[in-house]
Symmetry: C2
Subunit: 174 residues, 2 copies
């Protein structure tokens, strides 16, 4: 599928509502458990998404548009949420994510990006040259794969209760 | 996490709303594409979930409660939706799933299942002996893993647009 801003907004705009519908008012077991050491719980993922809104997607868009190849992106801390989420409830985090995502999308739309803008390049500290189109596609994919991760983590919590059925669910061994 | 009917209802009740929030009014590219030959699109998955409501979860619950080990479950057609969904819009399918899921959960709740009931057994045609608790856990996991699948399939549609980023997303190669 070809990238378009419209198709990207369709996903980016709905992710906060999808996560609220999926995670609000659930038993703690669904929300706070993870997949093992150094993995994320659904609660952790929401903090991670908030940190991305604050420090990654729009910050890197600005660097590409303002500095291009002359200034590499700031490396991103994928574990920052373990500090930043402390003391916050899941509902607080879901609200915070909804608010900051809306602000970021309003800002992005206000740029009126052209196809030429989408071809502009920046330097990723590990991956090298990337275009703004690559960055915005990855923002969308990052949302979708974290919803996939959250539901996989939740599913695994019942693995021991399924008797012999896990062998039909390849995803439980991912 | 230990199985409980309450924790299971929490998921089973919200899945139709999660899918509506995730999939309503999206570009066809997000909804109708799949992961390659003999894989499901998000549209296909909704038909598959409806078929499960009609022929699997409650039907097998009935067999366990009424016949126990004396009558194996009817094998399930995992590809029935390719016929049954024909001519229906995604929104029709999402509504149909919501309705039949609600009916099935009302029926399940009306059984007032006890812990002893949950230990009752049936015969799966391939897996052998399973308990009602195993079956109901698997119903929940089936919902969650299909949401994971849908979002993974959607994410893959942008893989070509991400430049070098897919190497950071293990899930895109699942």
């Amino acid at each position: 599928m070809k990238f378009s801003l419209e198709k990207s907004y369709e996903i980016l705009e709905r992710t906060p509502a999808v996560l609220k519908t999926l995670l609000s008012n659930l038993d703690e077991g669904w929300v706070m458990n993870n997949e093992g050491p150094e993995t994320f719980s659904p609660y952790d993922v929401i903090g991670h998404l908030i940190h991305g809104e604050k420090t990654d997607w729009t910050a890197r868009t600005k660097i590409i548009l303002e500095s291009g190849l002359s200034k590499p992106f700031t490396p991103w801390d994928r574990f920052a949420q373990f500090e930043e989420s402390k003391g916050k409830s899941l509902l607080q985090l879901l609200d915070e994510f909804e608010t900051i995502r809306k602000e970021n999308l309003n800002w992005l739309k206000s740029l009126n990006l052209s196809e030429t803008d989408l071809d502009r390049k920046g330097i990723h500290p590990k991956l090298g040259e990337v275009t703004l189109r690559n960055l915005l596609s990855t923002w969308v994919v990052h949302d979708l794969t974290h919803i996939a991760q959250i539901t996989r983590v939740m599913a695994k919590q019942y693995k021991e209760e399924m008797g012999p059925w896990p062998e039909f669910f390849r995803i439980l061994n991912f």
